[in-house]
Symmetry: C2
Subunit: 219 residues, 2 copies
């Protein structure tokens, strides 16, 4: 069903939700959106349905659709699952990854190292993303890869935030080295636990960010 146009519209709205231009609870009016994108309500409704399927939006019958920003608890839950999925990818990839895959990981890691040296967070983030996606791609399980990518996309804006914490870039890079080593040696358990830690710590760091902003808000 997903028509091309609806996908474009959904992506546009998704961007605005992920970048917080649309706040939690904001109502998405079909007429306004139709006018704004210069289409009828039909493709708008399709787009909204897509957003609902990926959980970014909530539908109340006969009321309308409302953007649903995940609360801190749900975010932590999602990071917990993300860690589990990446760990799963790592475990499988450890016994299935090719030499070319290892090389690709090392290449991205080199870029990361460079980024740390120049304190270039953007560059780090991009290479980091390719690093993780490479692991997914070599887990030998297409279904797992897609599921993991989907959750990655959803957490992407939040993963990014915590990278700005002081020292996190270097720490993240160190963890990458350990992950590559485990993968190249085919150490399934080590790869799994290293990735679990690597991603889980992001959830925790993120948690710290939340606590900090809560304190600031209270002051």
């Amino acid at each position: 069903m997903t028509t091309r146009r609806a996908n474009i519209i959904a992506d546009a709205i998704e961007q605005e939700i992920l970048t917080r231009k649309l706040a939690d609870g904001d109502r998405l009016d079909e007429h306004r959106l139709a006018e704004r994108f210069d289409v009828s309500r039909t493709p708008i409704r399709e787009a909204l349905q897509l957003l609902q399927a990926s959980g970014l939006v909530e539908h109340h019958p006969r009321r309308g659709v409302f953007v649903r920003q995940p609360g801190p608890i749900q975010l932590l839950e999602m990071f917990e699952v993300m860690a589990g999925l990446e760990s799963m990818c790592g475990r499988l990839a450890a016994s299935r990854i090719s030499d070319a895959g290892i090389e690709e990981l090392q290449k991205q890691n080199t870029i990361c190292r460079e980024a740390v040296a120049t304190q270039d967070a953007d560059m780090y983030f991009a290479a980091n993303e390719r690093f993780h996606h490479t692991i997914y791609a070599h887990c030998g399980n297409n279904f797992l890869e897609l599921e993991t990518l989907q959750l990655y996309r959803r957490l992407k804006p939040f993963r990014r935030q915590q990278l700005h914490l002081r020292g996190r870039l270097q720490q993240s890079l160190d963890e990458h080295e350990g992950i590559v080593e485990a993968l190249s040696k085919g150490q399934t358990d080590k790869a799994a636990s290293a990735l679990l830690q690597h991603v889980a710590v992001q959830g925790e760091k993120f948690h710290r960010l939340l606590a900090l902003s809560a304190i600031k808000a209270a002051e």
Copy 2:
């Protein structure tokens, strides 16, 4: 967006896909479906979109939607992920489950035992489902619970098949005992590995079934 009616229609079609009444590649004609469910094409298209989101159906632009039965490889992949998710649930539940939760698990296990004694596969399957769902419910991660439930639903018909293999009922029950023990003692690693095994073996058994039917088909 998901209107009530579209959900009902989607469920009906989903049932037919899962029970193989609709075969892989079958085209779903909007007009026919509209006529059959006595609604207009609009809610039909909504329902098809829902099915697409859950991966049961594929959409080719300007061509139509086609049912997409997972092939053997994808099924194995899905079982692999299922095992990982259940394992994750088990690991978390081991440190988070309540006494009431343990009691519930034991209760379902008692029913399972009874079902094995009377060789009642239906009864076993129902109690087995509640057993697993109880674990999901006590992992303390609502997001994980929902994701796991979603995949469970999709694999349900295939999980069922392999239970009919000789001796599998008893074996499954034995594994349940081990799982409950690990959970009640708070042994996170043991609970995780026990569940990983318990579910992964289903994928393997299912694989055996596939091989058997392939041999039969070749004869």
